[in-house]
């Protein structure tokens, strides 16, 4: 066998209290797209930081084309032909595209030559870019192009991509994949990090799976099913959420003829929204981001006040009531943005439990807080929802995305809501955590609560909803039974057909 491009041998890196990588070894061949799979916190990011010279391994060694390779800093890694596209873009908003690219190069040519080169390379790879635009004005997909072009201009032998598709629309993902395939054809190796299994199956030649910092197996993605890879990742078989057959009760939440002007210059106005949810029912609301999801959640949670009659809870008008009063009546909500909206990042889990739980869990009397009971409540959430954290005194910010999401969802579910409104319940959450959150939502509905679940993940909505509706430019389509809906029908609901039949030829 020929020498692999990069060979990792027994890499170990420990941080205080946690071993991020334990004796990890694998090879990346020339011109190979190699997937690095693993759940959140499995040690993928630490591993690539070692290859890119941002972190030094405690032990173990790397060989690049048979030569020892130990980059002291990213600069050295770049010189040796290793380039990286970061998960959270490492771009400078106030600078223009060319300046951003120059910053990532060792010896950039003069600006005018660089601009010409950016045009040339970006068009050659089907990723057109204007070198003089300010990066702050670009979309997520275009920003990623900037990073990719920055890497390509250095003629890398190995391109590392850390979760590149998490911010892209499906069309943008397709363009990205075409580019990557072109690169592979030219002999560039790619280390592709993701937990999206279908992507890896379409794109990658070989996969290494990490779990808790250890290499737990390798496979050829094309010959392996997604569920087999998921099992390798999680370490146990994935439970598909089960829905119990159930009977629906009375209407719990009713909205009729609701119109709300946009709260900000970049928001969406809600236009004549009707919906009703019965006890024991899950209503799924789909749609492309930015079509009124956040505004709808704000109206339901009480952050945006409306006409009293526009929102009714168990027949009572609640449109003029704020979030705390609605909580008292049993209408709970969990917004999308974990850090900053659903949880206060720098406060402890106990304090965060207190923030929404004080009313229904009786955590305060006469303005005085009962910290002991709040801590008990936080511990209960941690235990029942398997939140991985040293304890309730830790700041919300210190939890990984998936764990914090479990905490935020658990906090609302355990308050026994009559109606739960939840936006993007599994956004950025790995497969096993997502499955347990979905199961919790289904269990809640089986217990007689009404659930409104807003999500952009259509598979998720099909898995848990009884009825489905879509938001499009602030209008909500008429809800339909979820079972038996076809992808085309859903597409039409999202695309703004508003019930009009498209002519079939």
């Amino acid at each position: 066998m020929t020498t692999p491009l990069l060979s990792l041998q027994g890499l170990t890196k420990a941080y205080p209290g946690v071993i991020a990588n334990n004796n990890v070894s694998f090879d990346i061949g020339e011109g190979e797209v190699h997937a690095l799979l693993g759940e959140n916190g499995a040690g993928k990011s630490t591993l690539v930081k070692m290859i890119y010279g941002l972190v030094k391994p405690d032990s173990g060694q790397m060989l690049l084309r048979g030569q020892p390779f130990a980059p002291a800093e990213p600069r050295a890694a770049r010189t040796d032909g290793v380039a990286m596209v970061f998960q959270h873009f490492s771009l400078f908003d106030a600078l223009n595209v060319a300046e951003n690219i120059a910053l990532g190069m060792e010896t950039p040519p003069p600006m005018r030559d660089l601009a010409a080169k950016i045009r040339e390379v970006s068009e050659a790879y089907g990723l057109p870019l204007d070198p003089y635009r300010t990066v702050g004005d670009l979309s997520a997909g275009e920003r990623q192009r900037v990073e990719i072009i920055r890497c390509l201009l250095q003629d890398p032998k190995l391109l590392i991509m850390d979760e590149p598709t998490s911010v892209l629309t499906p069309q943008e993902v397709e363009i990205l994949f075409q580019t990557l395939q072109k690169l592979r054809a030219e002999g560039t190796s790619i280390l592709y990090i993701s937990h999206k299994l279908e992507e890896i199956r379409t794109l990658c030649d070989h996969a290494t799976v990490l779990r808790l910092g250890e290499n737990v197996g390798e496979c050829t993605p094309a010959d392996t099913t997604a569920s087999e890879m998921a099992e390798l990742m999680v370490g146990s078989s994935l439970k598909v959420p089960e829905r119990a057959g159930k009977e629906l009760g009375d209407v719990a939440l009713d909205i009729s003829g609701l119109s709300v002007p946009s709260p900000s210059a970049f928001g969406t106005a809600l236009k004549n929204v009707h919906l009703s949810v019965r006890k024991g029912e899950v209503l799924g609301i789909g749609g492309v981001a930015g079509n009124g999801q956040d505004e709808l959640l704000a109206v339901l949670s009480g952050e945006t006040l409306t006409e009293a009659d526009a929102v009714k809870l168990d027949g009572q008008p609640v449109g003029r009531l704020g979030p705390t009063q609605r909580r008292k009546l049993g209408l709970l909500s969990a917004p999308e943005e974990r850090l900053g909206h659903a949880a206060a990042p720098d406060m402890s889990l106990t304090e965060n439990a207190m923030l929404t739980g004080s009313v229904r869990e009786g955590l305060e009397t006469g303005g005085f807080l009962k910290w002991g009971e709040a801590e008990a409540f936080a511990e209960k959430i941690i235990k029942e929802f398997d939140v991985r954290t040293p304890g309730p005194d830790n700041a919300a910010r210190s939890l990984s995305g998936g764990n914090l999401q479990k905490f935020v969802v658990g906090r609302e579910v355990l308050q026994r809501p009559g109606v739960l409104v939840i936006n993007q319940p599994t956004w950025g959450v790995d497969a096993s955590a997502a499955a347990s959150i979905r199961q919790a939502i289904l269990d809640l509905a089986a217990g007689g609560a009404a659930v409104v679940c807003i999500s952009q993940d259509l598979d998720e909505l099909m898995e848990i909803s009884d009825r489905f509706a879509a938001l499009n430019e602030g209008r909500l389509s008429t809800p339909r039974d979820a079972s038996g809906l076809t992808v085309e029908e859903i597409g039409l609901m999202m695309g703004g057909a508003h019930g009009m039949e498209v002519a079939h030829v």
């Binding site: 941002l54 990213p74 490492s90 400078f92 600078l95 300046e99 120059a102």
Partner: protein, 306 residues
Amino acid sequence: MDISAINPVLLVASLMVAATPILLAAIGELVVERAGVLNLGVEGMMIIGAISGFAIAVETGSPLLGFIASAIGGAMLSLLFVFLTQVVLANQVASGLALTLFGLGLSALMGQRYVGVRPPQTAHLDIPFLSDMPVLGPILFSHDPILYLSIAIVASIWAVLKYTRAGLILRAVGENHDAAHALGYKVVRIRIMAIMFGGACAGLGGAYISLVRVPQWTEGMTAGVGWIALALVVFASWKPWRVLLGAYLFGGVTVVQLNLQAAGVAIPVEYLAMSPYLITIIVLVILSKDKSSAPASLGRIFHASH
């Protein structure tokens, strides 16, 4: 009242002198803030520069050595700020305020022996033909070398920030220190150099007051010039030439209002005294209406948590 007693040529020449301390302090702070650090200790570094420059100039008899000492003094004091904010990661606002208070106190201690002493005079440019020209001579060709240096610093800072890789890296660090770190730039090292440059410029500005503008030493003689310089950087939208414009505008209105006071204009002195602040702020607020904004990492603490 006799406004005709005001000589416009001398007015322009003296406004340049009045503006130079602010200009020096502000251009230094501009570099610091472009690197993402907010150092509110400008006033403290200026007064330390004023006394170190004054003391060395008196002891050696050389104003030049005095100015060099003032830059070193300002940079030394800024090292305290470096230690607080870049090493032990203290809050920048609190550290900057502490630096000002500390500098004012320390300078008073250092300057006890120098009250009432006259410093050696700083030589002025005297080019035979050019300096004798009627209007241009006094305005352009008969100042002291530090005044020309201050303009040269503004021009070179502008050029460095706009055209060089070093300037690009400095701006990148101020814009997004996490991204700069991820690309392998030494955020802390770059910031330390920027802070020390800012300290040296503030020290020069202080010495310009004690050696040229006032020439004497009194406690607290910078009298808020450091704060004006800080405000100037913000209102100038972190752009070098606008800092120059703002400083000269401020210096100009200051000199005009002093002349008006001397000429006995029938406007209460308090209004005249506040006019430089008002006019400078109004003009720069109007100028800064375009979309230029602060460096995004300004005042945020950087910690390489890897």
